[in-house]
Amino acid sequence: MNFDFNVLTIHYPAVLDGLLVTLRICLFSLLFGVIDAVFLCLGKLSGRGAGYRVSVFVVDFFRTIPEVVLIFWIYSCLPLLFGARLSAEISGILALSLLVAANVAEIMRAGVQSTNPGQLEAAMSLGIPAHTIWLRIVIPPALQRMSPAFVNFLTELIKATSLLSTIGVAEMVYQANVLGNRTFAYVEFLTLVAAIYFALIFPLSLFVRRAEARLVAQKCR
């Protein structure tokens, strides 16, 4: 078995198209997902009432069902239920943004709730106005504590975009399959795609390791 680079040099533009689609899907689902996540996080923090109950259920539900089930449900059921035509890519973005919303909401909530109670008590007893407490005391350190968990989820999201090839979104894995079927060079294209994913995700997971070690060191100090 010899690794045939020629086939890669001829067909690599299609794989790069797939890479662009992968990145585009990541970007849009992050954008929509984070907006939804803010609402869900507010709901979970509000502590009681209808908003709280629904947010808790939505977060638990979309974190527990497998991504593939969610993707297929949205792709094949939503158009039937609402009588609207959705392209594969749009339904994929919709499914992934629900995934992002649920996971990021949970990360945000954990970040806010890990605020140092001593700092909060001090701020409250000094009579600092509520919006200043949020903007100066709660949110900045919460963002810092969230960053490893958020980047870790980002790596999960990049890996999850590969699942959209099952509904026919023309991202990297789909392109590799198509090219593999056409040229029978499965090994070459699949290895290339795996290497691209590795190159995308490895820096992020290095960052997660560093940031986590830093947080542990901060806690010990």
């Binding site: 609402f39 509000s46 497998p66 094949s76 409250m124 890996k159 699942l163 590799a176 593999g180």
Partner: protein
């Protein structure tokens, strides 16, 4: 946290609650308004009763795959984590390379690679189920080794020094001194990873390994009614995953109580 709740109350907590409830009502109203009532009224969940045996078998397969991934994953992961502790650089690099490769590429790519590319290299064709199990076990071993590594690092230095001072042989040191307390601290992340691999088994449906998601695909192709079966399958996954996390919380509180009582 009481202080945080107080802060939420003084920063218009009531108004936020009302606004969220109104948003919720608006979303639900918009959803109901746009529903295609013909489809909704024709939903027929009783038709799925015919497929009960297939669904139960598929779910059994899902559970078997989860068990295989978790058990083999913990076993191989522990071996990898122990190999990381051996003071021999090339071995450590090898383990790091293995773990990072499987953690930083999507399981779908690994799965297709093992099913379509590996036979080209080795010349041995694998069936879908064999490829599926290989892929999920390899990925599980990488993820679990990270958890075990963290667990081993959390064991206090004194345990190592004491076992050195007492002259305990290497194997006994691992099985009786280091690993038992390490595994006790690892239970919560192990359960989370179990849920995660319970979800991952659904991805194996791209090779039609006969687990719940494969079965649901076959049923929706046979009946031309995807809504009923996919909703049922989503609920099954949700209820079971929720049960696992509920039991995890029970174990955690029980363990915390035992520690407090000691």
């Amino acid at each position: 946290m009481a202080v945080l709740d107080e802060l939420i109350e003084i920063s218009y907590g009531c108004a936020v609650r009302v606004a969220l409830t109104l948003t919720l009502v608006a979303v639900v109203a918009a959803g109901v308004w746009n529903l295609n009532w013909d489809t909704v009224l024709n939903l027929d969940f009783t038709g799925l009763w015919r497929f009960r045996v297939a669904i139960v078998k598929g779910f059994g397969m899902t559970l078997a795959l989860t068990a295989a991934a978790v058990l083999c994953g913990i076993l191989l992961g522990t071996l990898l984590a122990i190999a990381m502790q051996v003071r021999f650089r090339p071995l450590q690099w090898l383990v790091i390379g293995y773990v990072e490769t499987f953690r930083n590429t999507p399981i779908l790519v690994q799965l297709i690679w093992i099913h379509f590319a590996l036979p080209v290299i080795t010349g041995i064709p694998t069936t879908a189920i064999v490829s599926g199990v290989i892929a999920i076990v390899l990925q599980a071993s990488a993820y679990f080794s990270e958890i075990v590594r963290a667990g081993i690092q959390a064991v206090p230095k004194g345990y190592w020094e004491a076992s050195d001072a007492l002259g305990i042989p290497v194997i006994t040191r691992w099985t009786h001194v280091i690993l038992p307390p390490a595994f006790r601290t690892m239970i919560p992340p192990l359960v989370n990873m179990t849920i995660s691999f319970f979800k991952t088994t659904a991805i194996l449906s791209v090779l039609s390994v006969g687990e719940l998601m494969t079965v649901s695909g076959r049923i929706s192709n046979a009946t031309f009614k995807p809504i009923e079966i996919l909703t049922l399958v989503a609920l099954i996954y949700f209820v079971f995953g929720w049960l696992i996390s509920l039991s995890a919380r029970k174990i955690e509180t029980a363990m915390a109580n035992r520690e407090a009582w000691r």
